[in-house]
Amino acid sequence: MESIHTLKSQDHSSGRLLKDKLVLGGVIVLSLITISPIILIIGKLVVEGYRQISLDFLIKNTPDTFEAMTAVANGELIPGGIANGIVGTLLMVVLASVLAIPIGVLTGIYLYENQGSLMANLTRNISDILQGVPSIVLGLISYLWVVKHITMGFSALAGSVSLSIMMLPMIVRSTEETLKMIPESLKEAALALGVPYHKVILRVLIPTGFSGLLTGILLGISRILGETAPLMLTALGSSMINLDMTKPTSAIPLLIWEFYNDPNMIGLIWSSSLLLMAMILILNLVSKQIAAKRR
């Protein structure tokens, strides 16, 4: 007991409390540094980009480089807009969703129904690994499959395929997770009433889990909205609005890349980025709202 008292009398409290406070301070500082880019980036987009945003910006096509050069030389805002990009993005997002949603939801249902099976585990693992594939590689794949063999040339379809492969794992996972949260008893009650399985899926499971599924889909869309690299290898771009999915098409990120590379069009990069960010943010907010309402 004696030695314990001498040991206990070692008192490093003040040093330890100081260390405690210092580390807390460091954590706070580093955390603030961590979030500073988001504030700086959005700030930059708003400050530089808001001037260009107007109705015209949304409904007119991209100007050609000479028009832009003249405008810049005269100190005016570059005329025209990014309508071709907006339409292209929307077209490809819709196509990608049409491809990814049914496959993703059905696969998610399959995984939910077969929790322990080897096949389901394999599928789930492959889906997770697929999620980590870089988007540029997906662009390569879509090039090899669609551009080379289906549309014989760059096309909106090729772009959509690469985007849909990106969305797919996200939808699979969110579907499975959503369904897992629905009480077993609901499904069992329906089955006990003699309802055929496919109706249980369509009339009970999907409606009940709808907000969760929707959240996953919206998040998937917000993810693909900003993708540039795969589209460079597949959709290529276009100066006109294009609704033909077998032909090349523009997209907002592709336009940003084109503007970036053309000294005359630089002025348009910030407003386009601002619009893109706004779309992504709104989708994120909406899906967070839906998720929150669910709770």
Binding site: D20, S31, I35, I165, L281
Partner: protein, 283 residues
Amino acid sequence: MNSDKVTKGVLFSVSILILLLAAGMLYSLVGGSVPSFKAFGWQFIISGEWDPTYGREKYGALPFIVGTLITSFAALLISLPLSFSTSLFLGEYFRGTRVARILGILVDLLAGIPSIVYGLWGFYVLRPLMIDLGFGGQGFGIFTASLILAIMIIPYATSLSNEIISMVPNDLKEAAYSLGATRLEVITTVTIPAARSGIVAGYILSFGRALGETMAVTMLIGNTNQVPGSLFDTGNTMASVIANQFGEADGLKLSSLIAIGLLLFLMTGVINAIGKLIIKKMN
């Protein structure tokens, strides 16, 4: 019931699609790389030449492999203190408070910014900063690219670590407090050891993300097809060379780019598999 069998069959076949997709991707990438491997063999991976001149084409992936690995590692190192502190902020120090909620949303937002927007910001804001700080040349290079990559991967490690850290049971922490530990001591002796594998998995996954980033990197790295000699040299990465050199590439050049895509596919696949394995082991 028969319709049930049909339904089950449909579900099964749809899920096979995912497996077919993955297999198909591997097949196409390998198939597309064959001409290149036939021409260069294993030299492809260790050769640094990239000469598209017709008649004496020679391609090697080494500069890009090195560039990818260096930028991703550097990005990981730079992001580590930042994302670790932030996950402690969110999961331990200020857990459940409004400040944490706001900060958490801001960190999530970092993940939502598209690569090309990071690239623009990097080009117009970071690059001049690098020049001002005297880092040589036009401000392009491995370092600048790693810096922007670091910012881009922070949210991935942060959200995973944050989740794991906040799941450390309260009563373990209380036991440590009751023994007279300071908050820092509770974190270092109880919280972090308990959350260790989750934290590591988070970093492995964010490393995997860094490997495949294209746009922001290509806008800042300088795009020179050489093995970089120092952190401030320019260089190139696998993802960015594919994006850059793809236009009008065909024949051997295209095959070489596809081969690089295959390497990238395999690298990210392995890294992600390791990360997920660690997470699975934890649960």
